[in-house]
């Protein structure tokens, strides 16, 4: 059934947040990224990144795996299939919103 709702209705609150969008943007290009890479790529503090990763993990959009390299702990993050789908839907809705604005339908 076609979705006739306004694109803004299809924005996912979990994904539609600038840090979480940024996290998913990185993870759709890299199959996995560690905590440090995400922090540097997005310019975040440890606490800020942790909080947003937790939200995404609870929504089932990312998987988090903790490993050790020797004695050094490492946290690897990857995007799940629902996470990729949610990100794609979000980008599609944003593009539709933009097309609507460009066409003067706001």
């Amino acid at each position: 059934m076609a979705d006739d709702s306004h694109p803004s209705q299809r924005l996912d609150d979990t994904v539609h947040q600038r840090v979480r969008l940024g996290i998913l943007a990185v993870l759709t290009e890299a199959d996995q990224a560690d905590f440090g890479f995400l922090k540097d790529a997005l310019g975040l503090t440890d606490g800020n990144l942790s909080r947003h990763l937790q939200v995404l993990q609870e929504a089932g959009y990312v998987k988090i795996a903790k490993t050790f390299e020797g004695r050094r702990p490492r946290t690897w993050v990857s995007c799940t299939k629902p996470g990729r789908a949610a990100f794609s839907s979000e980008v599609a809705a944003l593009r539709e919103l933009l097309a609507g604005i460009d066409n003067g339908h706001g």
């Binding site: 947040q17 969008l21 943007a25 199959d31 560690d34 905590f35």
Partner: protein
């Protein structure tokens, strides 16, 4: 990224400029891609191997070059996997090698089948056409326009060599493919180093 007001549910900030958000997302994706997709290494490695395979064209009507790649192909693939794994551990980000191995296997099978064809022109040009098409697939995985452009040109070269039946076609193709991939790899390496 731009900040806006809160959503009607009060749950999350809403960015009220979709154009800016999309631009910023694309920028993040582009920077990530540049970091985790170092296409230069396999291009240079397989480019050099390609040029090194040229002398084997004279052995056994193409069987020599086929056997060369039976050894060099998997060895090059393993070296590339090791390079990418070590890089992903150092960088803290990486991509799965599975799609690349699948493309490589496809190239291998198609090239060997073409090499076993009855027509001498297909034997000469078919394997290299398989390689060119395989590199188009790699270009898609890497989101690399330079690699796609080079693969397109080399596909045309392979077809032209096959169609004209030019003498020493195997040597011409091995050297031209090898030089083109090596040159592209070197160019990408210089570009990535800024």
């Amino acid at each position: 990224m731009t900040r806006g007001g809160t959503s009607p549910t009060g749950r999350a900030p809403v960015d009220d400029d979709p154009a800016a958000t999309l631009r910023q997302l694309e920028e993040v994706r582009k920077r990530t891609r540049a970091g985790v997709h170092p296409a230069w290494f396999p291009l240079v490695l397989f480019g050099v191997l390609g040029m090194a395979s040229a002398p084997f064209c004279a052995i056994g009507h193409g069987l020599g070059v086929g056997l060369f790649w039976l050894v060099a192909g998997p060895a090059g693939g393993i070296a590339t996997s090791v390079y990418h794994h070590r890089r992903s551990v150092t960088l803290g980000a990486g991509v799965s090698g599975r799609p690349y191995w699948m493309v490589a296997a496809g190239i291998f099978v198609a090239a060997w089948l073409a090499g076993a064809a009855e027509s001498e022109r297909v034997q000469t040009a078919g394997p290299m056409l398989a390689v060119a098409l395989g590199y188009l697939a790699f270009a898609y995985l890497e989101r690399s326009r330079p690699v796609a452009a080079v693969a397109d040109i080399l596909a045309l070269v392979a077809v032209a060599v096959g169609a004209t039946g030019v003498a020493n076609g195997c040597v011409i193709l091995s050297l031209s493919f090898g030089a083109a991939f090596t040159g592209t790899g070197v160019m990408l390496r210089r570009r990535d180093r800024g």
